[in-house]
Symmetry: C2
Subunit: 657 residues, 2 copies
């Protein structure tokens, strides 16, 4: 059992180490005295500031007051003259103010999000001014239970008041104001940091242009609370815990804290990641030792993680932070998520990871659903990455491009002050047709690089309207409509690469499956719902199309005409299932998702008999000429666009809590 004088409130002591004094100039991003590492912010220095002094105490959510509060923080990059490029990073349970770079040239470890923060990285320090502070209640410099209570001159211990995510945000807000920033370009963070992002966006909607809650939740599940409870139990039941008053004794609850960390660590990884990293490998010998020493590599690893944590983290802060996470519950606080999200004004980029089982993607999707229902600007990606909850600290390939594209678009909008209009569609994203769900280009198309049906659909859409594009692929159609018709668009697609392209071109998009996402959209919440070359992949056609008619004023559907003469010819006279340019797949070799084949007449029957909807317009086209086909369209058109609408008077269903 690890215990001894080295644990005598080292957290208190660490507060005085290497800190800039108030008034001292913060270090610049450039490395001093040695060559800068590629993409690194270089040497950085922690700063501190004291708030809530004298009578000006912080009124906490639990009812108590707290002050003074010291805050430790770091900054990277430069605040621009407009002061509109500041990004606040929020750390997770075991994080601190040191997000990037090194404190000393020989530091073996960089800041906790160094892979994401630096020149040219996702949080690009050449564009943005990045701020990161240690949270209230922490043990890395900011006031917490290891701090000296000015009233008693003793460390707070468990007499430190219970703090919540909102309390953390209050302290950060004071810091942001102190730095002279009225409105943040963005607040971003994973896990507990993501909870703070949500609190920022809900309670200070005018002070956050973009919110990036990553691998987080509006409230922990029962399982999440249960794991936290085990960690707390391990600490509280440790005989050395001494009701939190261990700071000035020679005993420290090292065993309990280590066990808490070990449990935590398992939940931060995925089963797959652990399998890949450790499998059933033994630490040393070939054979079993038949004793209770650490024998499997994974045991040694966990033990090591536990020991490292005991050396750097305070058991009481573990209790306070885990409890703050358990308490965080937007549903409880606002009645429902819809109400909570209705209060926001930020653009949202929500990110989850498919292997994260502690903050599962489902929980991020609940956030996204609420944002969509509240008609907010949201993009969502569930990144395919095997590292579990820790993915947000490890994955850069997709995450960086998403964040980087999203931040740049948000910053441009902020600067142009005309949201939704000044969208630049990069030539690169236009020139990537192969990422579209359907590869359909009329060879004689007069619209180079665009799909024939896109141009036809664009003609049907009124300027300044709202458009929901289902199966939007890389967002070409929405980008076109945003640019030329000033529409407010929203896309739904499945491909990760498509989501990145959308983020880079300023198209809001969520990574949802069409078959089960429609219920989240409010009645008549869009002027147009577009289903362009996507009807083929819908599984529950009648129910989904009914939902689309509910959500949109008009529904625009395009698909290849199954009864095109070439197909009939093959089928009738050759006795073979039809295959031609627009339906190029043989029966045994078509994409998994492609299931529906229908003719113009089939669809008309369906609209009339099944949907009982109104056929507003029918545009049979020839993909060869790009023009409308007027003679025997079900025979001569290989492509068709329908516009349909509800017959009902459109009494609107209530949405909300």
């Amino acid at each position: 059992m690890k215990s001894g004088p080295e644990h005598n409130n080292k957290f208190e002591i660490s507060r005085d180490r290497d800190l800039l004094q108030p008034g001292e100039a913060p270090p610049s991003s450039e490395n001093k005295g040695q060559a800068a590492e590629e993409g690194s912010v270089g040497l950085v220095q922690t700063q501190y500031v004291k708030f809530f002094k004298g009578e000006d105490k912080l009124r906490l959510e639990c009812g108590e007051s707290l002050g003074p509060i010291e805050v430790v923080y770091e900054t990277y990059g430069r605040l621009n003259d407009q002061r509109d490029n500041a990004i606040l990073l929020l750390h997770a349970l075991s994080g601190d103010a040191h997000a990037a770079g090194r404190h000393k040239p020989d530091d073996t470890k960089c800041g906790w999000w160094d892979i994401m923060v630096g020149p040219g990285k996702a949080f690009d320090t050449e564009r943005y001014f990045i701020i990161c502070s240690n949270c209230l209640g922490g043990c890395m410099g900011t006031t917490g239970s290891s701090s000296i209570n000015p009233a008693t001159k003793e460390p707070y211990g468990l007499s430190f008041p219970m703090i919540t995510i909102s309390d953390m945000v209050e302290v950060q807000r004071r810091l942001v104001e102190h730095l002279g920033i009225e409105k943040l370009l963005a607040a971003a963070g994973g896990s507990m940091g993501g909870m703070q992002v949500l609190d920022w966006a809900i309670r200070y909607p005018d002070q956050v242009a973009a919110a990036l809650p990553i691998a987080t939740t509006a409230r922990l599940s029962a399982q999440g609370i249960a794991f936290d409870a085990v960690g707390r139990n391990a600490i509280l039941r440790d005989e050395n815990f001494q009701e939190g008053g261990y700071y000035r004794t020679s005993r420290y609850p090292a065993g309990g804290l280590a066990v808490a960390r070990m449990v935590g660590h398992i939940t931060y990884l995925s089963e797959e990641a652990m399998h890949t990293k450790f499998g059933r490998r033994l630490r040393q010998s070939q054979g079993y030792r038949y004793d209770f020493e650490n024998e499997f590599s994974v045991e040694t690893y966990l033990d090591h993680q536990g020991s490292l944590f005991v050396d750097r983290f305070d058991a009481n802060t573990y209790l306070y932070f885990s409890k703050a996470m358990d308490y965080f519950d937007l549903v409880r606080q606002y009645g429902c998520l819809h109400e909570a999200m209705s209060r926001t004004k930020s653009r949202f980029l929500v990110i989850s990871f498919n292997s994260d089982w502690l903050f599962p993607p489902r929980q991020s999707q609940e956030l996204v659903n609420a944002l969509l229902t509240a008609d907010k600007d949201v993009s969502y990606c569930n990144i395919n990455c095997p590292y579990g909850h820790d993915s947000f600290l490890l994955e850069t390939k997709v995450q960086s491009r998403l964040i980087s594209g999203f931040l740049r678009q948000t910053h441009e909008r902020l600067q142009s002050d005309k949201p939704g209009i000044q969208v630049s569609v990069s030539a690169e994203s236009r020139a990537r047709p192969e990422t579209a769900t359907y590869h359909w280009y009329g060879p004689g198309s007069i619209f180079t690089g665009e799909r024939v049906d896109h141009r036809q659909i664009a003609r049907l859409i009124e300027p300044d309207s709202t458009v929901l594009d289902l199966g939007c692929g890389d967002g070409q159609l929405l980008a076109l409509l945003q640019k030329e018709k000033n529409i407010r668009g929203m896309g739904v697609t499945l491909g990760e690469e498509d989501i990145v392209t959308c983020a880079e071109s300023g198209v809001s998009v969520v990574q949802y499956n069409l078959d089960n996402c429609m219920s989240i959209f409010a009645d008549k919440s869009y002027d147009y719902v577009v289903l362009s070359q996507t009807l083929q992949v819908i599984r529950q056609v009648p129910s989904v199309l009914r939902e689309l008619l509910r959500v949109g004023e008009q529904l625009i559907v395009s698909f290849p005409n199954f009864a095109y003469w070439r197909g009939r010819w093959q089928f009738t006279f050759k006795g073979r299932a039809p295959v031609w340019k627009n339906l190029p797949y043989t029966w045994f070799d078509k994409p998994d998702e492609s299931v529906n084949y229908m003719s113009i007449l089939d669809f008309e029957d369906f609209v009339r008999e099944q949907l009982k909807a109104r056929l507003v317009k029918r545009i049979p086209i020839s993909s060869r000429t790009g023009r409308q086909v007027r003679l025997l369209p079900n025979f001569f058109a290989d492509e068709v666009i329908f516009v349909i609408a509800d017959k009902s008077d459109g009494s609107v269903r209530q949405t909300g809590c």
Copy 2:
């Protein structure tokens, strides 16, 4: 912290309580002195017996010897005269010999598997003689670390030798012999019990007719070991643990054991089950208390579970059992799973639960794969049940019927001594056509209750051959072939209800997806592979069919002919996608899985050009008459059966480790 004289080796004391002495008659299944509960074995009594006395010590896997060993066990039902109806139940980590019934009329709790053991239940005590013993190393009566070491007259503590799953089985084997049983009808158990089942079947293949490994694995994953390590760490780091020598002191590692149990308990449940059971409910108040007491219901529950466990379980046994599970590794022991499973002779029923994340279904599937590769008789079902790993202790609806049908069939075969022939197909299972994947019955069929293509396919199959039926539905075809042609059959299907029906009618079946299960079958391991009305749902047609040709000497495929004249008529002259009796689904309303439509000519092209296989036979049929169509079959036949085979000389790929 719970500690005190009540923990002074109560496990040692419990061994003397209420036990039948050797020679005393065991109680009968009938309840004495009070009305028997419906389906209950009633009042039962624990018995004990002592083995490995004197020089006859048990040689353990770790190299040490142990003896004498007392074994505590219970039995329910009666051993029949042939002594072929004995079933051994193997318990999990926290279980004991008390599997069913009550010890005293006022016992509030029944045995740990009471829902499955009793008259008319899955393990039917009116048919079978059920045995359950406390495992070696346990703390519920059988010799373990809380027992008195005869050499020192003190409790063993950590001087108790490390035991393995095989050591447990050795002791059980002595017990089974002692009860006068040469061959068990079955060995069954979940979790750690399932590991024992596997060890039984591998090391004593002639002594187990049927093996039922449930919710188990051939080896724990890194994550599984990690959770065990956390539990052990919590105990080992408890200051009251005293290196396992706490029995005769006033201190007991209650805190550590409770934390271990809490972690364990989370892993036994699923996230969904915890959400349903507790959600984020608070224990008492409406508002947060802002302290570190148990506040959420889930915390109280875990704390309670921890306390209960501390009262009934020995911390050392927790260490020994969890280590035995970590050590269990059939791959390590036998070089590969294939080699391990090749040694078995039992019929297998492998069961997993889709919400079990501690022993995930994937691990059961690895077992099943190895059994299939080794050409063993195996059935597998992944039961849809939300309760996580604990499902095997809670789910009865599917599990009971599966086990009950499987045991009855095994017992009948054992008694007839002619495996694979005496299969009774119940009238009930024949009369359930709606469970078949495809609902295709010629209305004029002369074979009442059977599919026309089944009778045609049966004619193609030689007696005494082997048949793999992919998409076998409820196993009608295989049952028919087993009965009339004495084939050895194996089915693959997805429906849970179908799996149950197969088990009840003696058809071996695994619940696998056709698209990714083929690689497990060895080259030419079946005379016939049948794809009856299943081609329509295959996703990767070319690769799957190539695999089928590899696995079977001949491949028999039946499907509806897309180019049947009724379809052509509709398509050509009405311009609508074809719909008729055999292809009854409209484009917008067909089953999710149905994706492929092909004509007789399409398939012939495919066999020739893509598969480059040999067309052995083509039987176009009319579903109306059930007869072959000779005139213009691609026009007049609505159904077709193909027999195809490899062109190659059939050089056989090696399978194995």
